[in-house]
Structures are given as C-alpha cells and as structure tokens.
C-alpha cells in the first residue's frame, strides 16, 4: 500500500505525471486508483491528484495518511501538509509560480528555507528538487513533471521498479522519449543523492 499525494498548479502536467504512476503500477501488476482535478481549477489554480497503489476502494487519501507527497511547486507544498504524518516523505520542486494574490494582496511568497522548516514540523523528510533546472538540462524545459516522477521513483518507496516508470513514460509521452527519459534519470539521481 502506497499513498501518493501530488500537488501543484494547473498546467504543470500533474495529470500526465499521475498517469505515468498509474501505468507503472499496472505494469508491476498492482492495483491502482488515481483521482484528478479537471475543469475550472485547471486555470492556474491549485490542483491535486492522488495515486493509491494497493487494495483500496476510494481514490481520496485521508488527512495525515500520505506516504509520499510530491509537490510540483514550492508554495503548494505547504497546502499539502494536511495529508502528512511524521513518516511522510515530502519531495518538493523548488520551482516558484507566484500566485496573483502575492501581487494583489501584497503577501509574501515564502523562501525555500521557510517552506522546509514548516514541512519538517509536519512530515518525516523534506527533499527539495531543482526540477526546472534539471528539466532544462535534459533538453526539454517542459519536462519538470517527469523530473519529479524520477524523484518519486528514486525514493524507492512506491514498490514499483525504475523500469516500470520508464516504460510508463514511453506510453504516456510519445514525443521526445530519450529526452524525457533523461529528465526522469536526472530526477531519480537527484533523489538518490539526497536520500543515500
């Protein structure tokens, strides 16, 4: 049983990322349930996807029960903490997408250090990933979602093998497969380095 909570901003490719997890789970012969955000919230709002691998009926992850939180945007990491417990591994992209409320209501966007400190209070581990830089390095700036999938796979906590994820990426992103696999590898290695 592995409960993965994915958060970010509409347009960051989170649904595609969750589909990769879903196909990887099927390739590993495991049951999987994903839930997705569609519709109005996709217009630049906060979005949530869940992936539950194992024997459950409901796709929603109860509060405090996520094993892994994968955040595609730094600020959104904080909003996901309701799902964390002291064993939760929180993997957060350092990418910042400044919400309009920061400008219009003159609020402050928190620093990486502040987010890390908050997350460590609620969760077991905080792992920041330079997803946008790693994506640019792999030749596809749009592939930071795949970098994050690499980081997820690199935790080794999903019960799925690296090859399952790689095949699932080929299935879901037919264009520029080598570049996307490179983005995946960069995320995987970045996570591996931080954890071990």
């Amino acid at each position: 049983m592995s409960d993965i909570y994915l958060v970010g901003v509409g347009g960051q490719g989170i649904i595609t990322a969750s589909r990769v997890i879903g196909d990887a789970a099927i390739l590993a012969n495991k049951n999987v349930l994903l839930s997705e955000t569609h519709g109005m919230a996709q217009r630049g709002g906060s979005v949530v996807c869940t992936a539950r691998i194992g024997d459950v009926q409901s796709p929603l992850i109860p509060d405090g029960q996520a094993d892994l939180i994968i955040s595609f945007e730094l600020l959104e990491t904080l909003r996901a903490m309701c799902k964390a417990n002291k064993d939760t591994v929180v993997v957060s992209s350092t990418e910042k997408i400044v919400p309009l409320s920061v400008s219009t209501q003159k609020l402050r966007y928190p620093t990486l250090g502040e987010v890390g400190a908050q997350v460590r209070k609620a969760a077991g581990k905080f792992v920041p990933i330079e997803a946008r830089t790693l994506a640019e390095d792999s030749g596809v700036p749009m592939s930071s979602n795949i970098v994050m999938i690499g980081a997820l796979a690199g935790t080794g906590a999903t019960g799925l093998e690296r090859g399952h994820f790689e095949s699932a990426i080929e299935m879901n992103i037919p264009r520029m497969i080598p570049e996307n696999l490179a983005a995946f590898a960069k995320g995987f290695e970045a996570m591996d380095k931080q954890l071990h």
């Binding site: 879903g22 997705e36 569609h38 217009r43």
Partner: protein, 636 residues
C-alpha cells in the same frame, strides 16, 4: 526500451513508437487491462455496446466522455456530434434510438435540467434501440454552479438508473444499461459523480462490436406521438415497465452484498462513491459488517432491501447528497413493519451537502455504533498567511482585456449579468465583472429583468458556446420586448473551460464528420438587433469606445469581442506573431496599474518591483496599452 515494452505492446495494436497515433479507448485489445478514466471507460463501453449515434454538450465532470468519442468516431465508424445544447443532444439520440439503433448521450448534472423536457416524455414513448444517458454529478461543486442530486431525475421520470463506483463499473454498467434499456424499451440513466468520472484505474475491456449504420423508422403514432390520449396510455405502460425493471434490479449482479470481516448484524446500504468510502471506513474501523452495494439503484429492489433489513439489526445508509435511498429504505421498513433500525441523514450522521470522504463516513459510523476512531489531526502547518491560489484568467486571455475595457468605459458604474464559462472568473477583483449568474444563457434573460428595474447601465457577458447553447432565445426576447442592455459576446472561438471543444461557430469538428460554421453576427442580426459591433479585445481603445457607444443606445446592443483563446493561439501561427513583453525598470514608476487594475498571471509584483515572467507571457501586449508610463515594451 524499458522492461515492459513487450507487455505494453500486448495492450495495443500500435507499436510503442507510434504511440501518438493511438488512442487507448479504441485500441485497447479485448481482455486487456488498461488504465482508463471513469469517463473513458464509459466511452469504451458505448463503443462495445455498438452505439450508432452518440452526442454530448461538454461540461465538467462529463467532458472526457464526449471528447474520447469525438477523437475515435471516425475510426470506430460511429456518428458523434457536439450538439448545440443538452436538449438537442438528447433529442438527436432520441430520434436515432426511436428508429431502433443504439444511441448514447452524456452531460453534466445541470445539463439534464436542459434535457429534462425531452427526457421526461421520452420515458413515456420508450425506445426501440438501447438509449443511455450519462449524467455526471458534481458534489462539492468542484466545477459547477450547484450540486443538485440527479438521482431525482430517475424518480421524476421513471427512468431506470445505474450508479457505478469505479472506472471498471463505469464500463460494466454502461454496457449493461444498453441491454436493460432494450429489454424494458425504456431510456436508462447512468449516474456518476466527479469522484467516479475522474478516477483513473485499470479497466478490463472487451470487444468493440459496431452497430448498424442505418435503420428505418417504423411508424407507430399511437406510441410515439404524445398527444394527450397517447400520453395517458403510455404513462400506464411506463409504470408497468418499472415493475419489470424492479425485478431486473432485484436479480442484477450489480446489487450485491460485500462482507467486511466476515459480516455481521450491522448492515450498510451504499451506492456510488459512497460505497467506496463506506468500504474503506468499515475496513479501517475493523467493523464486522455487510454492505449492500446498490449499482442498479432505481427502481429500488424492494425484495432485496427487505431481505437485507430482516438479516440485520441496524442498517446505516451511506449516500452523498440527498437521502434518496435512505427515504426509500425507511419507507420499506415501515411498510413491512420491520424492527430494523435505519440510520442516516435523518439522524444527522452524514451531511446532505458536499462530497464525502473516508473520514466523514468513519465519523458517522463511529457515532452510530459507539466506536472509537482516531482523534482528528491538528493542522501542524498554519495556512493563514499562505497566499491562496484560486483559478484565474490565463496570461493573454482576451476576456481580461474585455473586462479591463468595460471597467474603463463604465468606471465600474454598471450591473453585470454573467454566464457560464472561463469568463465567470471575471467576478474577482480587479474586474468585479459579475453580479448575477444562475445558469447557461442566464446572462441575457436576467439582463432584461435587471434593466427593467435598475437605473445603472446593464451589461451581459456570454461566451460564444454559451450564446449558441441558450443565449439566442433571450436575445430575441430582448429585441421583441424592448429590453435595453448591452450584450457582450465573448467569442474566443471555442468552448474553453471544458477543454476546447468545438461549437456551432467552429470550422473543425469531431473526427467523423464535416461541420458548417454558423455566424454569430448573422444570428444577432436575424434576431432583430439594430446596433452591433465586432471588436478585437486586444485593441483596448476601440473596445472601450465601442462599450461607451453601446450603452448609450436606446435599445439592446451587441458587441462581439472576438479573439481566439490564448491557450489555443499559443499553439498556432497567430500566436507566434505576438510579441513577448517586458517591463523596462528604468521607465517603470512602480505605480502598480498593471497588477491592481489588470490581472495577468505573467505579471507579478514582488518587493514593490513589477516584472513579467517571460515563460508565462502570451505576448498579447494588452499590458503595454495599460501602462501610463509606457514602461512595458516588446521584447527584441
């Protein structure tokens, strides 16, 4: 490449490197388990059931059903259309099904309100070919203006109903719904919710069996022409068929008992997503209980309920939104004089609003059964002060430009009747350009009423797709009855909010069919409107001047603000000619006009410095027209 490529190939006919040619819904091989969205599973089932005609009007959370069918219609050899609205979509399907082929229509919950007039009487005539209507409900209003419970439509019309809980059941029940529809000669509803339609899971699929292309209508006016004498007799037929339907529900494998920890004297009756939460909650609480899962839930199988009540001391009913099953179960218990305690919303165990989750159902079960659940978690991260991120109009959105121009022209001294679409997001500051909104097309009608009793100018906003859907009768009414307001048709050439589906003004439609674009201008003129202007909202001055002139007219006036949705423009040549912009910090006076009076996700103000994110900028150049100091310039 990758360890599983061989297995992957077994799913589909196409090799992996041709993947962009492939569509899972069509290509998944019989017997394969494929990852499908609940909505996609419904689409696949419709193909396997041999539908000849499928229709929709897009709406979250139903849109992906139609979108999947639109993509594969040509290759699957079916007829598919995006209809003008849900009523027309339903009528198209009725015409086909009455002729004897299988027909399929899908829509969001509020779409059924539009379709209801056709649907209620179609239950009287009944159908020849299988007729299935999918209603996708939206508890918690994730993307809707209300959270009405459309199971009432099954009760209201006498229409048998299935309620799947998972993508696999979406597939299984949609197929079965066609069989039941033909057996009973009645339309059948498949009712999902957001957490069923938008769940993705492995689905085992079968074989696609194409239906007949044509079928000649056999004339039978004593059945199909509902003059009062016919309607009276057909109502009796409907009620008799519902008795047969109840027998079928009693025998249906979709109504089954799921034992948790060996079962026990405590029973739970659940349907739809409610079943998922009930099962997970019962397992998590370590409950020994039986869950009666109702998948073929209308007509309620009385005999099944009676037996379940007899075998249990207390029965908790777990269903989202309205206590429909609960009321039925209570009535059966009372009628049969059964001592079983029935518990549910009447006992305040569960709310009558919003979607459930496992915790809500656990708390309800705990209170009923005197169990001890885990104490609720204290939020360890204080979210106060964490900037919120509601949905916003995109960078380059033409609606932003339109709203800016309207605010400038009216100095915000106007009343705004809004409508359903992305542009409803104009309700937020700085535009505050929505004062009244109830349903699709309501901007035009409500504007007439507002204008009758208000002294401020009234401006109605409606999208292009919504105008075709339900705006035209309101406009005819305004001309005919002499209402005085400005109707702004925000024509971004697509149905943007639901995923860029075509509409009657589009030139390119679903894969199967050629379509004809209908001109909005010609319709407006034909409605009798005397003052009409077409503007490009990116041209702020012209748009502002047009609004000023329009609200001074003595009759209803119409402005079509036409500019392609920025998300589409980004992908084509028109988008490529636009120029990215930047703020010249040497010229910028930090006046904040670009963030306080305009709303663009690409422009931010951090530490009193306003900048444009080059990656997000759509190149519309509207901000450069707004800046009082000409500090916003084209990037070289």
């Amino acid at each position: 490449m990758g360890i599983a490529s061989d297995r992957f190939k077994s799913y589909f006919h196409y090799p992996a490197n041709d993947f962009d040619q492939m569509d899972r819904i069509l290509e998944a091989k019989p017997g394969a388990k494929v990852l499908l969205l609940g909505n996609e599973a419904i689409a696949r089932a419709a193909l396997e059931a041999g539908v000849t005609v499928a229709t929709t009007y897009p709406g979250t959370p139903a849109s992906e059903i139609g979108d999947a069918l639109a993509r594969v219609a040509k290759d699957a050899g079916i007829y598919f259309e995006y209809s003008t609205n849900e009523m027309v979509a339903t009528e198209i399907a009725i015409g086909a099904a009455a002729s004897g082929v299988r027909a399929f229509v899908s829509m969001k919950h509020v779409g059924v309100n539009v379709a209801a007039d056709a649907l209620m009487t179609f239950a009287y005539t009944g159908t020849r070919g299988g007729f299935v209507l999918v209603t996708a409900d939206d508890p918690s209003c994730h993307s809707s203006q209300n959270e009405q419970d459309n199971r009432y439509y099954a009760l209201l019309g006498g229409i048998p109903m299935f309620e799947p809980s998972s993508p696999q059941e979406c597939y299984d029940m949609t197929k079965e719904a066609f069989e039941i529809s033909e057996k009973l000669e009645l339309p059948v509803i498949v009712r999902t919710t957001t957490r069923v339609s938008h769940v993705r899971a492995p689905v085992g699929v079968g074989t696609i069996v194409p239906g007949p292309k044509t079928k000649e209508f056999l004339k039978d006016p004593k059945r199909f022409v509902t003059v009062p004498a016919v309607a009276r007799s057909r109502h009796i037929v409907l009620l008799e068929r519902l008795k047969v339907a109840e027998d079928l529900a009693g025998k249906s494998s979709f109504n089954k008992i799921v034992r948790i920890k060996g079962g026990g004297r405590t029973g739970i009756i659940a349907s739809s997503a409610g079943f998922n939460y009930a099962a997970d909650a019962a397992n998590s609480l370590g409950l020994s209980a039986d869950i009666l899962k109702l998948g073929f839930s209308y007509p309620v199988p009385r005999a099944t309920i009676i037996a379940f009540l007899r075998n249990h001391d207390r029965v908790v009913v777990v269903e989202e939104l309205e206590p429909i099953l609960e009321t039925a179960v209570r009535a059966i218990a009372q009628h049969e004089s059964l001592p079983t305690k029935v518990l549910g919303k009447e006992d305040q165990l569960f709310p009558r609003y919003y979607e459930f989750d496992q915790a809500i159902v656990e708390a309800g079960l705990e209170r009923t059964l005197g169990l001890k659940t885990n104490p609720s978690l204290e939020g360890l991260v204080d979210l106060q002060g964490v900037p919120k991120r509601p949905p916003v109009l995109c960078a380059g959105c033409p609606h932003s430009a339109t709203y800016y121009a309207v605010n400038k022209a009216t100095n915000k001294k106007a009343i705004f009747a809004s409508d359903i679409g992305c542009y409803t997001l104009g309700v937020s500051p700085p535009y505050s350009a929505a004062d009244l909104l109830v349903c699709m097309g309501s901007s035009v009608g409500t504007a007439g009423g507002l204008a009758k009793v208000n002294t401020l100018p009234v401006i109605a906003f409606i999208g292009d797709s919504t105008f075709f859907h339900a705006g035209i009768p309101g406009l005819i009414n305004a001309v005919h009855n002499g209402h005085k307001f400005l109707l702004m048709i925000l024509d971004n050439r697509t149905t943007a909010m639901t995923g860029h589906q075509p509409h009657p003004g589009s030139e390119k439609g679903p894969s199967c069919c050629d379509i004809t674009a209908v001109s909005i201008e010609e319709i407006v003129k034909a409605c009798g409107v005397k003052w009409l202007k077409v503007v490009d909202p990116y041209d702020l001055k012209t748009t502002t001047d047009a609004v000023k002139e329009a609200i001074a007219q003595p009759t209803v006036s119409v402005i079509i603000a036409r500019r392609e949705c920025a998300l589409i423009a980004k992908k084509n040549e028109e988008g490529a000619i636009l120029k990215k912009h930047f703020i010249d910090q040497e010229v910028c006076k930090k006046c904040r006009t670009c963030v306080d009076r305009f709303q663009c996700p690409a422009i931010s103000s951090i530490d009193k410095v306003q900048t444009i994110d080059d990656a997000l900028c759509a190149g519309c150049g509207v901000c450069s027209q707004i800046c009082p100091y000409k500090a916003i310039k084209e990037a070289k």
